[in-house]
């Protein structure tokens, strides 16, 4: 790269070094230290934290988290793709408004929106009230504090993260491609399957990562809507810092393990794009 380009990219590299690389390295260093009495770490090298983290207890929690985050990404894709398709194919003058509507929820704090679900889903809440009134159920259904409630909360939280990259790739579709498909006799369904889906694969991969990665480590939604019964790896890590164990090095080791899962997911995503020849 020429000097000017380096200079232009310098803020980005500084940002990455300061806010991504440095914290990750601190966590890595902590994960090899020992537990301090009041929290914090004592700088004596050990690999005991990793030995403890590879216990089936924590691997089971990690597996459950991967399943939940994967299901969240899948449901977001199923719910988000038609929306993105509609937005991307809508008349140009509407697209800005539609995009705005996707962003509107961000105007309210994510925690407040999650607490709102609490009032909708609780036994004496709005949803049970409506279902009782129209006679679909005879007694309130326990919806809150279940894995289903957590999944609903996760999908709700991350749906925009799926829609936006999908929209970008759908909007970039070139009209002649679709016309060609139609001229060559492909119906709408076939065009979607054979032309639109493959061409928007980068958006699908990016959206899935944008949802999967943060969903894996989230703990607030599971706490509020799961009532502590659907703990994911984020809750267990949080507990090492804010719970009675005061075990920072162990929390750090679990975080490194979680980052390893991210690494695998990223590698799989970039491999799948490369195989299709869609990205360098």
């Amino acid at each position: 790269m020429p000097a000017a380009a380096w200079l232009a990219a310098a803020p980005l590299f500084a940002w990455l070094a300061l806010f991504v690389a440095a914290p990750a390295l601190i966590i890595l260093a902590y994960s090899f230290a020992q537990r301090g009495t009041l929290g914090g770490v004592v700088w004596e090298f050990t690999i005991a934290n990793y030995a403890a983290a590879l216990d089936p207890t924590y691997l089971r929690v990690l597996l459950r988290s991967v399943v939940m985050a994967g299901a969240t990404a899948m449901l977001c894709l199923i719910a988000g793709y038609p929306v993105a398709l509609y937005m991307g194919r809508a008349p140009q003058r509407w697209r800005g408004t539609l995009l705005m509507l996707v962003m509107v929820p961000f105007w309210t704090s994510f925690l407040i929106r999650t607490y709102a679900w609490l009032t909708i889903l609780k036994s004496e809440g709005a949803l049970n009230g409506v279902l009782l009134a129209i006679g679909i159920i005879d007694a309130p259904v326990a919806m809150l504090y279940t894995p289903g409630a957590v999944l609903l909360g996760l999908v709700y939280t991350f749906l925009p993260f799926m829609i936006l990259p999908l929209y970008t790739s759908i909007e970039a579709l070139e009209e002649p491609m679709l016309e060609a498909a139609s001229d060559l006799g492909a119906g709408p369904w076939r065009t979607l399957r054979k032309v639109i889906l493959p061409l928007t694969m980068p958006g699908i991969v990016a959206g899935s990562l944008f949802v999967f990665v943060p969903a894996l480590g989230l703990f607030a939604v599971n706490d509020i809507l799961g009532g502590g019964t659907v703990d994911m790896i984020g809750n267990v890590i949080e507990n090492q810092f804010k719970g009675g164990a005061r075990n920072w090095p162990f929390g750090a080791a679990l975080s490194v393990l979680m980052m390893a899962v991210f690494g695998v997911a990223m590698a799989a995503a970039s491999r799948s794009s490369r195989l299709r020849g869609l990205s360098p």
């Binding site: 009495t37 036994s123 009675g244 005061r246």
Partner: protein
């Protein structure tokens, strides 16, 4: 992408300004306390009288407080640790001895709250509020008497129970049913406790330490094992909520105020201590947060109704044991509960 540099500048500017407002003023104290535990009216009253500004930062667990304290990112003049945390802080020589000559109102604290095992020489901590952990029952929905932990964790109560989300608390209840005190945590006892908890935990609907009363008020559950202050508020809302100290054995917690060793303004902190120990100020705290007030002079100012609330002032004023610091055994407890929850 043109927005990125702008965003960077904005974030950095925000951080710089946050640091600037973080600098201590000439006469101010920095209070680091539990959320929902210090009434704003008390803070305002102190500032109006002494001219000392109070910045009030909050946390939701002792360990969260310790994390920030240990990191050294911010120095505090007053912290609000619970009994076992006071003990750990004293052991690490992290607290400043209080100059009792500057805190004459300490005399208002009842003798039964002084020289307790976590601060045997009574040098470092001022009792704030005490409470117990016990059973709260919605008597409209649960007709049969509930006297202890064993009555709560019954198959017929599956999916109707809320408990505080605190591993050590949960383990201590199971220990009580085996006749053990809450501080005898050894690997052998944890092994004995395990089968009990294996039966209990699948029955629990909600784990919530911050506001366990919510699930009861919302009608999502019918019984709970909660902080006595939460039960007292429930009882005030609706007398159908009854508080019971478990027959197998209950324990109490005592929250305190203490001054960290590196406090920038210890004299201001001691003025605050003396202020909150005044009977009329302490009574105001009780009004908002109905725990057991260790300030006996303040208790005289409470209404008959407040004193009759069995969750705030259990009949017979039983003297219960508190948690002590159990050191690394806390790691074993955390692992046990994580393991049992993950299996469910």
């Amino acid at each position: 992408m043109r927005l990125l540099p702008l965003t960077v500048v904005a974030v950095l500017a925000a951080m710089v300004s946050a640091c600037q407002t973080g600098a201590p003023k000439a006469d101010s104290i920095r209070l680091f306390a539990w959320s929902e535990y210090v009434p704003q009216s008390v803070i305002d009253g102190f500032t109006a009288e002494t001219g000392i500004e109070v910045s009030y930062e909050t946390y939701s667990s002792n360990e969260e407080m310790l994390s920030k304290l240990v990191s050294g990112a911010q120095r505090y003049d007053l912290i609000q640790p619970s009994d076992y945390t006071v003990q750990a802080l004293i052991r690490e020589d992290a607290l400043l001895p209080i100059d009792w000559a500057r805190v004459p109102n300490f005399a208002n604290i009842g003798a039964q709250y002084k020289n307790l095992p976590h601060d045997p020489e009574q040098r470092y901590s001022v009792p704030w509020m005490s409470g117990s952990v016990g059973i709260v029952v919605d008597t409209d929905k649960v007709r049969e008497p509930v006297r202890g932990y064993a009555d709560v964790f019954q198959e017929k109560h599956r999916g109707r129970i809320v408990v505080v989300d605190d591993s050590r608390e949960i383990v201590s209840w199971a220990m009580a049913t085996l006749g053990r005190g809450p501080n005898e945590v050894t690997p052998q006892i944890l092994a004995e406790v395990r089968p009990v908890l294996e039966r209990w935990l699948p029955l629990v609907k909600v784990y919530d330490s911050d506001s366990p009363k919510t699930a009861l008020l919302n009608g999502d559950v019918d019984l709970g094992i909660v902080w006595s202050g939460e039960a007292a508020i429930l009882h005030e809302e609706d007398p159908k909520f009854r508080y019971v100290l478990p027959v197998e054995g209950a324990h109490r917690f005592l929250d305190t105020l203490a001054i960290p060793k590196d406090a920038p303004n210890p004299h201001g902190a001691m003025k605050f201590l003396d202020y909150v120990l005044r009977p009329e100020v302490s009574a105001k705290i009780s009004e908002e947060f109905p725990y057991t007030n260790p300030n006996l002079e303040a208790r005289k100012l409470l209404s008959a109704e407040q004193l009759a609330n069995p969750a705030s002032y259990p009949p017979g004023d039983p003297q219960l044991v508190g948690f002590l610091d159990i050191g690394p055994a806390a790691v074993d407890i955390d692992k046990l509960i994580t393991n049992l929850k993950a299996a469910g």
